[in-house]
Amino acid sequence: MILNRLRISNLRNHGHTEIECPEGTLLLLGENGAGKTTVLEAISLLCTSRSFVTHQDRSLLRREADRYQIEGWFTSTTSSRRSVSLVYDTDPGRKQIEMDNALLPAAADLIGAFPLVALSPQHRPITAGGPGERRSFMDFIISQLHHVYLMDLIAYRRALRQRNALLADSDRRPADVRSTLEVWDASLAESAVRILRRRHRFVEEFVPYLLEAMRSVIVQREEVALRYISSMEIDPFAETATDLYRERLALRMDTDIRRGTTTSGPHRDELEILLNGLDVRAQASQGQHKTVLISLKLAEYRYLHTHLDEPPILLLDDVFSELDDERLANVLQLVDGLGQTFITSANHATLRFFPQGKAQNMTLRLENGVVRELAEVA
């Protein structure tokens, strides 16, 4: 997918910005706070309905503005013209998204249509943070490929909230718990088993991509592995998996009632990343965290590309401050062969990595939310 033109109004410090994007790499240079990352956020919002920085739409609004709008015009691999327009207005206080000039009933309907991979310092928790970060990483990749998976996730979360509300209120309404808990269990079990199947299959498919990405980022051999740790000990591929799942839920009913929440299920699972047999989260060095994160993201890119027949758009936010020169050179060499890429940097020296004069590449300078042509090449 190629983003040909991007228009931003009233997003953070951008009043009105319009960018004609090159098909190769667009390098955005500027001081901190110049609005580089905002351009990447805008692209992320267009492609996935959300920013990788914040989930609060209000905080994206330009000061004094009550409405922001982002528009993008794309070309797909099959040369068809696509467009997305996203508007957030404080009244009614939610986003409205139009895809190819038709209003989308739900933001979820956008996911997968414009594949995207983003890497920014905001993604560090994937290797260093809690299990929820790794579940989100995994869920977002699968959701872009399988819309049904996303629907199952939404249904699961909805049923989970209902079940938890019931459990939290069990003191006041004990009869309701007795008579209706199994109904919510059945609802949870159905989506949970499908979610588990898809996640197990994903981990299996994804590992080879991760191994290859690791080998291309660093020279020395490090053994990376992924392990899905389920909080519900069942085989999701068994024919009777849904029934088994419900039985397990029933067995933990007392614990769940006592804690007032659902203590097991896909929302409590972990995707463990192992480096040379050790848990990355607890044991890896700073440098290893960076290597693993970049490898995960490159693997995400290749995995999506292979399965979608459409090269994703790649966003690299501030990776120059993250990496030493050697790793950076490796990464940029890899990126060069990928699809359309948007890169931000605060450092003019990074220009040396981008041979000017290549027709498909372009550099822009940002200053306080305003895009300028690059006056001179440093």
Binding site: M151, Q162, D169, R173, A175, T180, V183, W184
Partner: protein, 198 residues
């Protein structure tokens, strides 16, 4: 912002109570009422009171009605052996518009939703069980196709099945008049699950 008339302000705040009506719309509605002839305002006021005085729920199906039992429950031309269970009265209107269903209804008055504090006792479930004990052959469950509707369907089917009745649910799938290519994946998946032999 307050106007120069306390009466107008009072009307605006009454309109603003209505669901989906914000302050601005309430002001527009109030100004409209102010500009129209007095008779129209009287009609509106009378209609509001009339609805409160005369509309109640049917003691059999729990649908809204002015006569008890309602016209559907007391009709001799309908099939009293089939009951269609719906969440709200609006759903009855929707099904009645088709002129296809000739059985009776049962309005639950909502669906199971612990998040909103709604359990079985807050719905007209007991009334449904009482009705189902005699003279009924089939119960059709027609809840909305979402997480709460599905849970309610499952809950009722578990209660009703031991009574030896035929329990059915309405089909889920592609809406008529729409295009397959524009239908979301979840709906298509459900439609495949519910495919029928020809």
């Amino acid at each position: 912002m307050l106007s120069t008339s306390p009466s107008l302000d009072a009307l605006i705040s009454e309109f603003a109570r209505l669901p989906g009506i914000g302050r601005k719309t309430a002001q527009r509605l109030a100004m409209y009422v102010l500009k129209r002839p007095r008779e129209e305002a009287e009609q509106m006021a009378a209609a509001l009171l009339h609805v409160k005085d005369n509309v109640r729920t049917c003691s059999i199906c729990c649908n809204i009605t002015e006569d008890d039992p309602c016209s559907i429950c007391s009709s001799t031309r309908r099939d009293h052996r089939v009951i269609c269970v719906v969440e709200e009265s609006n759903d009855v209107f929707a099904i009645e518009r088709t002129n296809e269903f000739r059985g009776l209804y049962h309005v639950l008055g909502g669906r199971l939703s612990p998040l909103e504090g709604i359990g079985p006792d807050d719905l007209h479930v007991r009334e449904l069980l009482d009705r189902s004990r005699e003279g009924v052959d089939e119960i059709i469950l027609a809840m909305n196709p979402n997480v709460e509707g599905e849970a309610t369907t499952l809950y009722l089917s578990r209660l009703l099945k031991p009574m030896g009745l035929r329990i059915t649910r309405i089909a889920r799938g592609i809406p008529m008049g729409s295009d397959l290519e524009f239908t979301d994946a979840a709906t298509i998946t459900r439609a495949f699950e519910g495919r029928i032999a020809l």
